[in-house]
Symmetry: C2
Subunit: 337 residues, 2 copies
């Protein structure tokens, strides 16, 4: 591939060329200096998140669609900003680059990255490059903002809150499992398998809903579903020092689950533990239900009330259904396991 300076210069030109929205007047200096510079908006707080994706650990080149990988590395960080109730503004990208990836890969990768960035008015303002002999390494950084005091934490769930989740869960896990079974993305096919692959490879987090929910002040706590619905709900419970009950029959299991199992108990388990759905998990007062549903409708997002925050036990998850209530131990993914 081309040299390092030329590679960076190409990204820099592309980053400058996208049509910035009106917000972008706060960018003082983008790619090309020792640091990027921006002017935070008055009355706002700044947010920052970073996501490290390593080849063969977090994705495989074998089944990657380069444009979708570029999309996903940005999407996962946008999901974090949405989960704080913020709006993403700027991004940086650090790349550890193996020699095996050619110019064509990078052209497609950045086409996917910038398509998403442009759609949401996010501007790439920096990053770094190094070599990475064996495996591609991607560190995605996104800076966002929210009105002062409006950031939605994990730690403010209250006993009596309803628990809500956007979209459906488990689909990304099904996609990953289908990829492991040898399924690959096929253009112009739109069946359950392809939809499952797409959920894993090209997540579309409900960022507009997250931002507007933050601005509304309705959410008591929020997190994105990256480790698995049950695990992420437990993160809320631990940080908020509460417990939660999930109504088994209200969990919106992805329709692609039928590819794996017709057993609804097994499907529920996979949906509760499957990671990388990048949906939003929210707790809010029962009195806010109508407004929440209305806001979701406005944003074109489906929203399911799946349970409630309770005060029994020490940050436990309980699964309830007809005639039972049992404690549930999440089995989310751990990198060092």
């Amino acid at each position: 591939m081309q040299g390092e300076f030329a590679f960076i210069e190409g990204i820099r030109r592309r980053a400058q060329q996208d049509a910035p929205d009106a917000l972008d007047t706060s960018l003082v200096l983008g790619i090309g200096d020792d640091a990027a510079v921006w002017r935070p908006r008055e009355g706002c707080e700044s947010l920052i998140t970073t996501d490290l994706l390593v080849e063969d650990v977090d994705f495989k080149i074998d089944y990657a669609v380069p444009a979708w990988l570029g999309h996903k590395v940005l999407a996962v960080s946008l999901s974090d900003i949405a989960a704080m109730g913020g709006r993403a503004r700027f991004s940086l990208l650090s790349l550890g680059i193996p020699r095996t990836l050619g110019d064509e890969f990078w052209r497609d990768f950045f086409a996917g990255y910038f398509a998403l960035a442009d759609r949401l008015g996010v501007r790439l303002i920096g990053g770094d490059t190094s070599a990475a002999p064996e495996r591609l390494v991607l560190d995605s950084i996104v800076i966002g903002e929210c009105s002062r005091g409006r950031a939605v934490r994990r730690s403010r769930a209250r006993v009596g809150d309803d628990v809500w989740v956007t979209g459906v869960v488990g689909g990304a896990h099904i996609g990953l499992s289908r990829l492991a079974d040898g399924c690959r993305v096929t253009a112009d096919v739109d069946d359950l398998t392809q939809r499952a692959l797409r959920r894993h490879l090209k997540p579309e987090p409900p960022v507009e809903f997250g931002r507007r929910l933050g601005e509304s002040g309705l959410a008591h706590s929020m997190i994105d579903v990256s480790d698995g619905l049950a695990q992420d709900l437990q993160h809320i419970c631990v940080e908020s020092e509460v417990s939660a009950e999930i109504d088994a029959d209200r969990v919106p299991v992805a329709p692609e689950m039928q590819l794996i199992t017709g057993d609804s108990s097994k499907g529920l388990l996979l949906a509760l533990n499957g990671g990388e759905d990048f949906e939003l998990l929210v707790t809010a007062a029962t009195t806010s239900a109508g407004e929440l549903i209305g806001l979701a409708g406005t944003c074109g997002v489906t929203l399911s009330r799946i349970g409630r925050i309770v005060d029994r036990g020490e940050s436990c998850i309980y699964l309830t259904g007809p005639g039972y209530r049992r404690s549930f131990t999440p089995a989310g993914y751990e990198h060092f396991a």
Copy 2:
């Protein structure tokens, strides 16, 4: 080593325990949520930089002193913020972790990281972890700030400016070359070799001088010496559309150069091309010379006037000495070469 959540929890506790300086009241939310949140100070612009270090490309575990590696990964980003004339405030760290590194490595690594962070009032507020089977990967992110309009760019050097550099150059390259020759860090020894190793492994960028220089408004352009003095001066020249002359006998060559060569021409060449000195390269009006020297003295930094900005040629570097002036092509490091 311990599990991922326990590992992160340990870092989180350590990050919360350091005594924050008064600035830190602007931190709203540190490690432990989907994103960190801070309140930018009124009248300030925000700065961000990221540096990706990959094992066997940017450092070797074989010769690393874990505490110094923790120091260096932060120092290189602090150097970028200083080179913008800013003050570092917050940091994030993404870690791609091989199984081969045990708890002892990480204890020492973070001791070095937090020693530097605490000394400069920088707070670790986020990051990410993944596995990285073969090689340790470190992505260091630092957020800084400067007064509105005070960020010092590479692109504002003016014809007639003096060119200044802090400290000495070439020492880090000598250290790297000694490491390649099998020299290793030895406690309680303070000879030229150990000093050279230290320059490479534990750089101390002049961050207070950079910050105060930015605040003063005296610098027309600034960059940190990471790719090599000549290469970095060329970056200034390209961005500012000027050229520069370097006075050969004014370049402050590191005293450790005598370990490699007694030939002053060869030593000069190595000093001009050697990377990772993390000194500051500054251009300023000749009339500012007295104030610059005074500011450097206040900060305990040596400062050498090594040349001037000229308008001949197209972003060229010229080397001048008794009876000669010749164009000089920098040979800085490129990761993809």
